[in-house]
Amino acid sequence: MNPPDHLRPLQRLVHPAPRTPQLSAAPAAGPAATPAAELWLAIQLPQLPLDLATSGHAERKPCVLVEGSGARQRVTLVNSEAARLGIRAGMALGAAHALGEVTALQRMPAIEERALARLCAWAYQFTPVVNAVGPDGLLLEVRGSLALFGGLHGLLTTLRRGLRELGMRSFAFAAAPTPLAATWLARGRQPATVDSFAALPAALAVLPLDTLRLPVRQLQDFYGIGVHTIGECLRLPRDGLARRFAPDLLRDLDRALGREPDPRPAFTPPERFSQRLDLLWEIHHAQALTTGMERLLHELGGVLRARSAVIRSLCWTLHHRDGTTVPHRLSLVAPSRDVAHLARLTREHFARQRLPAPVRGFELEAADFEIQTAVDIEDLFCRGPRGESTDERWPQFVERLQARLGPDALKELAAMPDHRPERSMRMTPLGAAPAADTVDGTVRRRRPRPLWLTRQPLPLAEQNGRPALGGALTLGPERERVQGGWWEGADLARDYFVARDPRGTRWWVFRELEGRRGWYLHGVFE
């Protein structure tokens, strides 16, 4: 049977692309069939509790959601792995356990509510009008966003990919001119796009009454008088309906059909990001954490895009089995909101970590949102640490190395205006020293200088009054006296020589002019 014309499946909009993204669904011409000013997109997440519980893990195990208690525990939701074992909703938990190893989860309304709020913050990147519909739905007013995201098809593609990145595995969409109609259509698994008020009554009429999520008694009353769909319900006399059933129902029906306004509270996006992900199974290796971490990073990325903000640092806090919490702070060279980059940094950081105890959950915090104004964000990545380069990915490259090797592992070199060898250069952590006090490169030294300097002068053995290094060294004819530094409390007095060993390698050695008058190695020529 073909669906009625006003119920145009989304797929049909998806594939034969030449159709315009304008969703002119109603065939009838005339003012009533013009597209409504608002288009509400409902996202229904029927498996939200299960998806949330497993989103920290890469591997998928059979999970079911149970309600009730004791022997009357019933399975209410089943993920696809559990369904493969033959477990169905409505089974007793005992029967489900008999079919295979399965993890049973209780509903946690508080966690689901928080998760919906997070999803709202994430969805704020698509439209400023976002609304949570508890316990498992979202509403987005998308009329104004269609052009930006390439029509409804483009928007849905982006949404699908994004939801999968967040670890959501099952979702349904529907679009309609009123929020309630969109929600009911999505709940009724009618992947429909209804674009005008004129087409709305017919689209809703076929939906079964249970998509309204009425109280069980009300629903049974309706079934008792032979009313099973919204269409049949709408044919009942209005006053009787209001009297016999709650007046709320009549109001909802009017709102769904657009006869009455349906104001929705505005969603305010958060100023900071702080999310915790509890793991269903303990994780023993740091690398295995990254799947769940990437999901949180995708969430963060969505929130940052929504706020058009960037961050300079983020903090992971691991909750270990023994009750300890360990923070891992990652700081960025350049502000960013690039999820791939943040994920790479996180991976590199945790690749070198050994977990002191198994991890039960982790938190991601990012507080220092910097709101980007008119500046093109890509522009920020095109400068090196000293602002002059055209390297596109230098900051990211540096961060990646630092994440793995430690923040002080990368050093820069500077030549200093000082005649004492150890003071004439500086090797300091990248960005730690004030820049640009390097002496001008045009300063040439007449005296021989080695390419290598030892970190400290290394004491040399002495043979017959001459320094030795795997055999006596032959001193060159030139002697360079270096003195001074008393004004800094680092006085030195040395005679430097170029010395040659039997193999021909040239060393830079000196003899102390005072005290022990020992020989030291200070450099290597090439």
């Binding site: 070198r352 000293r386 380069s389 055209t390 390297d391 596109e392 990915r393 230098w394 490259f397 990646r400 190395l401 793995r404 090797l405 430690g406 002080d408 592992a409 990368l410 050093k411 820069e412 070199l413 500077a414 030549a415 200093m416 060898p421 004439s424 250069m425 500086r426 090797m427 990248l430 390097t438 002496v439 490169g441 300063v443 040439r444 030294r445 200088r449 080695p450 390419l451 290598w452 300097l453 030892t454 970190r455 400290q456 290394l458 290094l469 795997g470 040659r500 193999r503 021909g504 390698t505 040239r506 060393w507 190695l521 450099g523 290597v524 020529f525 090439e526």
Partner: protein, 224 residues
């Protein structure tokens, strides 16, 4: 497919035929003349078998390092055996603002003083699977890098192959300063040089053990 077609597709490497890509001038005329590409193979992995620091291996690289730095590309020194002496690099016309040192000894907390005799101190850390080797490979794969230098311990042929591929992926010059004994190991590096200092003549003998685009071993001598 005929042989002619294969030849025309130019995907066959024929021994004895100079490689099409011109190399980077080494800054030493005698060495340029001896190298089939007229300079360092670029991008590519170069092995300089010179034993401990002080045998002239680094000096060979100074002109090309200066040139790459002037082209705004980074010079990444991965776990060098001693501190590169900044004024000397400057005297060799190397832009210090383009030099980064991966100083992993301090990162690992083990201060290796770099004993003058024997193998360089960093060598122990730069073996297979080490952080140092990882950092070197990342540097080679990073397109903003011009050249990355490493003083490694023993490496397997498979690792060398990976490093050569990393050079090609990043468009970079990878330089390994290795012990002279490594000459017997077969290697996928684009160029392998064996250095023999001749202190009596104040000269450095360079033997080209292997070079892409040439089968013949060649030699040249540079004044020290």
């Amino acid at each position: 497919m005929t042989l002619e077609e294969l030849m025309r597709r130019a995907r066959l490497w024929r021994a004895g035929e100079a490689s099409a890509e011109p190399g980077l001038p080494t800054g030493f005329a005698a060495l340029d003349a001896a190298l089939p590409a007229g300079g360092w193979p670029f991008p590519g992995l170069i092995e300089i078998l010179c034993g401990q620091p002080g045998s002239g291996g680094l000096r060979l690289m100074l002109p090309v390092l200066a040139r790459l730095a002037h082209e705004q590309r980074w010079l990444i020194w991965v776990a060098p055996p001693y501190q590169p002496y900044a004024p000397a690099l400057q005297a060799a016309d190397i832009d210090l603002r383009r030099v980064m040192v991966v100083d992993v000894e301090t990162a690992d907390g083990a201060a290796a003083p770099g004993l003058p005799a024997g193998r360089p101190g960093a060598a122990r850390a730069a073996g297979e699977g080490s952080q140092v080797l990882w950092a070197f490979e990342q540097a080679l794969r990073f397109p903003g890098c011009g050249a990355a230098l490493l003083w490694p311990g023993p490496l397997e042929a498979l690792t060398l192959r990976r490093l050569q591929l990393a050079c090609e992926a990043g468009g970079t010059l990878g330089v390994l300063f290795r012990a002279g004994e490594c000459a017997e190991q077969s290697s996928p590096a684009a160029l392998r040089l064996l250095l023999t200092p001749q202190p009596a003549d104040d000269a450095l003998d360079i033997t080209i053990l292997k070079c892409r685009g040439s089968l013949r071993a060649r030699e040249c001598r540079l004044p020290l």
